[in-house]
Symmetry: C2
Subunit: 143 residues, 2 copies
DNA sequence: TTATTAGATAATAATCATTATTATTTAAGA
DNA sequence: TCTTAAATAATAATGATTATTATCTAATAA
């Protein structure tokens, strides 16, 4: 989704288009590492030093309402925001919290077979796979 | 896991066996609805009126360390505790928060194929599928 | 059986991510 | 430009979870 599409999408839903909003949306929608609100805040602050953390939270809520990002809640770290809403696996390191997407046609295909198996109509899904990242498994193999 | 196995497990790890601990463990390990800490607290209070919420949290942490329960963090509700650690789907209602397990041999088999596809070695996983429960979809079909 | 003590409990204070509030500012249409 | 409803920045409030601490007790040994 490019900037013009985003602007159109916001206006069509009656939301105003502000520079802060564009900056936050661009950042999160192009992110690959599922940043937290704080991380987004720190990043956007580089361009908008006066921006408020509350604005970040409000904008993230807006993107959730538009169905453009999914909020991933955790018990051991603050929420992370995922702009990828097609079925994929969030590969998560239980030690450092790093997250990346594993996305492949076969994963999607197999997931659809699982869904068919359940007979349920999913609105969305969240597939988390916990495994030590390379860095953490090297640093301290057996904690 | 019966009470004797639980007691042995606790003692073998150097944890003391207390009546409160047994009550909390029994409750969570036999639960099917992934209760929250508060729900467990309210339930155990019926037998142990003087029990502290802190004790519930400490015991849940202990069960996590033993690998007997998984804590499921959410962004829109407090954590829920899941005693089922084999691959299964948490079917979650996005409106009322109700959770139940969908567990079937085929789901497990397909999930293992997905894992094989990724080439990753999972320590654990969490598979959430969001769909309106019967009650909520009847009450207000289109919000 | 009793004494000892490390760990557990109950009560409650502290933390911190997130949400709510409010005065001020601004986007967008008239 | 003018108007105004919505957005922003600043900050207070909330609430789940964690930390602290003064008893209390399970488990071991005398």
């Amino acid at each position: 989704m490019n900037e013009q599409q985003l602007i159109t999408r916001l206006r069509s839903k009656g939301y105003k288009v502000t520079p802060q909003r564009i900056a936050i949306c661009q950042l999160i929608l192009s992110s690959k590492d599922h940043p937290s609100a704080e991380q987004i805040y720190q990043e956007v602050k580089k361009t908008y030093p006066a921006i408020s953390l509350a604005t970040v939270y409000i904008t993230l809520d807006l993107l959730k309402k538009l169905g453009l990002v999914q909020e991933l809640g955790f018990s051991d770290q603050s929420s992370r925001y995922d702009p990828n809403n097609s079925p994929h696996i969030n590969v998560i390191c239980p030690r450092c919290g790093k997250i990346y997407d594993y996305e492949a046609p076969n994963v999607k295909k197999l997931w659809y077979r699982i869904i068919a198996e359940t007979g349920l109509k999913p609105l969305r899904q969240r597939l988390d796979l916990y495994t030590l990242c390379n860095k953490c498994s090297q640093e301290n193999p057996t904690p």
